[in-house]
Amino acid sequence: MIEAVGLTKRYGDKTAVYNLSFQVRPGAVTGFLGPNGSGKSTTMRMILGLDNPTAGTVTIGGYPYRRLPNAPRQVGALLDAKAVHGGRSARNHLLCLAQLSGIPARRVDEVLGVVGLQGVAKKRSKGFSLGMGQRLGIAAALLGDPQVLLFDEPVNGLDPEGILWVRNLMKALAAEGRTVFVSSHLMSEMALTADHLIVIGRGQLLADMSVTDFISANSADFARVRTPDAEPQLREKLTAALTEAGGHVLPEQDGALRVTGLPLPRISDLAHEADVRLWELSPHQASLEEAYMRMTQGAVDYRSTTDQKAGLMQPLPPGAQPPVPVPGQGQPGWYAPPPPQQGGQPFAPPQGPPQGAPGQPAAGPYGAPGAGAPNPYGAPAAGGPGAGGPNPYAQAAPPSAPAEPTSAAEPTSAADSTKPEDAR
């Protein structure tokens, strides 16, 4: 149990964290989200007693970290995979940490096995890849077999097998009754791993709720309705009928209608009464990424702008068209489009996963990396976005989207994937 009360940290006149109060409960994976520079790492450092809070307190199991008896046996942390002396071998690095808290040396070999670094235990960590460094950091966190675990961006640089392993590891640790507090920027990963979310922006608490609550509280769920393309008068008719019934209707660029405020059966009934045929009537629920983007829009400190290259651009040759900007570049207020689908079949049955059934990869046995489970990443990769197409970048497709359960369950229109949805 981690408990922060009124936690505040100022560096000079910059306030990194302001009046942050939250609890992290045992037995669940708690995700810690926020834009870059929002104070996540500062908060983690204050939890670990590395930085002293300007005001407020943070305790673990009732004690401030620096007063915990044998702290590493109660709290394990991965703060920064680079926080090792590169000249020391992986085993010696872990050994010196083990000795510091009186952990028997054989535990070092155990955790090296757990993270899969036995083969390079004697190698200097300077030569480690980012993923190997991350594994070493996770090994250090697991060393004391602690009750509370903190991970700052644990999947950075890991390979797909490693990401799956970390995901299962987090869940397994939480299932054992431990407190697991994970920060990450990978929303698809958080959607699969975390049970609970703490979201901060500009150092202040934005949300402290379960993942499902977070998604529904921060996204407008809507129904997408499509009438026959060739008969625009049907669309007008349906729009009028729906508006009359109290619905809110927004036209989409490709002719579909986005309806809020009416349940799906009601829309169907209204269409039937108005004598309008429907080509599509589908529910749309936002992904965690979308909900997160929506919530943190106002709290983003570091936002990219369009690369102007003012005065540096060659004049376009006569007749050439300037390139169409990719959505999301330097457009304030933009947030992620819903997960894209394989185009061309807006009537895919909602119950069947559209991509050759990758299923939910989280079903593997906890804590056992790759134990007999077929590689869940193989299937989506085969039919991935733009496979064999002339321009794989034409579709703004997040590569991990096919593995996301929400996108697998609720197909949406492919046409949406390339345009911003700030019309909502």
Partner: protein
């Protein structure tokens, strides 16, 4: 247990409403021991012996002390200049040790500052939140290592030099002189290294701390060289006398001047300086963010 001040109270999940004490908990099968300085010492010993910089700096130190010691011995034996009079043959070890001090200081700085440079300090301080214990363990381990290595190399070079100069007119050193030129000077070396370790802990920057320490050793002599003004004569004299090379030479009873520190004075000076610096570093370590 107070409930979190959630800005969105409608979103309280079901499990948060669970009774306060009914949380699941996990107990490790590995026995939890009470940690003390001994654990930190074992850890620091593992650390210092598992990086190459230790081997390099100490290797170069031994090489400099013994190599230059033997070289000066050979030069003196083969030259016409004789060490008649009251010359102490052990004094020939001085030059090697003066150069070797740079290695000891470098190792001292690296013991603390390299942890800041690599970020390892965050891992260390997470694994041992008693920061003072870490600093104390580092200091003890480093001091013992530096002292042992200095003692072995100064003793070796002293034995070799007295043996080489046996045929010349140099006198046999007394027991007290032997003690000062081996144990005394090794203590001084180890303390000088310890001061560097402390400076490294305060500055948290390897290159900066090494530069400062080399400056501390060399600057007084260099500055004194250019103090021509008569009004500065006293300052100049003090700078000469209390410069670290001169203090070091006191152990070989051939000070540059007749006044100034003598006997075991240099040891007390460096001991006091290091103790004050250590206290400062300790206080800073407790107060500062890692």
């Amino acid at each position: 247990m107070s409930t979190p001040q959630s800005p969105m109270p409608q979103a309280a999940p079901t499990w948060q409403a669970a009774p306060g004490s009914a949380f699941p908990s996990y107990t490790s099968p590995i026995p939890v021991v009470r940690t003390h300085l001994g654990h930190a010492l074992a850890s620091e010993w593992t650390k210092i012996k598992s990086v190459r910089s230790t081997m390099w700096t100490l290797g170069v130190f031994v090489l400099l002390v013994i190599g230059i010691g033997l070289l000066t011995g050979a030069v003196v034996v083969n030259s016409s200049a004789d060490l008649s009079g009251n010359e102490n043959p052990l004094a020939l070890g001085f030059f090697g040790l003066l150069l070797g001090s740079i290695c000891v200081m470098t190792l001292g700085v690296l013991t603390t500052a390299s942890e800041y440079g690599t970020g390892m300090i965050r891992t260390t301080m997470t694994a041992c939140p008693s920061r003072g214990r870490v600093l104390a363990a580092k200091a003890i381990v480093f001091f013992l290592v530096a002292f042992t290595v200095s003692l072995v190399s100064t003793a070796l070079v002293a034995l070799a030099q007295t043996a080489m100069l046996d045929g010349t007119h140099a006198r046999q050193p007394t027991g007290a002189e032997w003690f000062k030129a081996t144990v005394g000077v090794s203590l001084y070396m180890a303390l000088l290294g310890l001061l560097s370790l402390v400076i490294g802990s305060v500055l948290r920057h390897s290159a900066g701390a090494i530069t400062i320490m080399i400056g501390v050793v060399l600057a007084p002599l260099v500055i004194a060289l250019f103090m021509f003004a008569r009004s500065l004569e006293k300052v100049r004299q003090a700078l000469f006398e209390y410069s670290i090379p001169n203090q070091l030479s006191v152990f070989y009873s051939n000070s540059l001047s007749q006044s100034g520190p003598s006997g075991w004075d240099p040891l007390w000076i460096i001991l006091g300086t290091t103790a004050v610096a250590f206290a400062g570093a300790w206080a800073l370590l407790q107060k500062r963010d890692v």
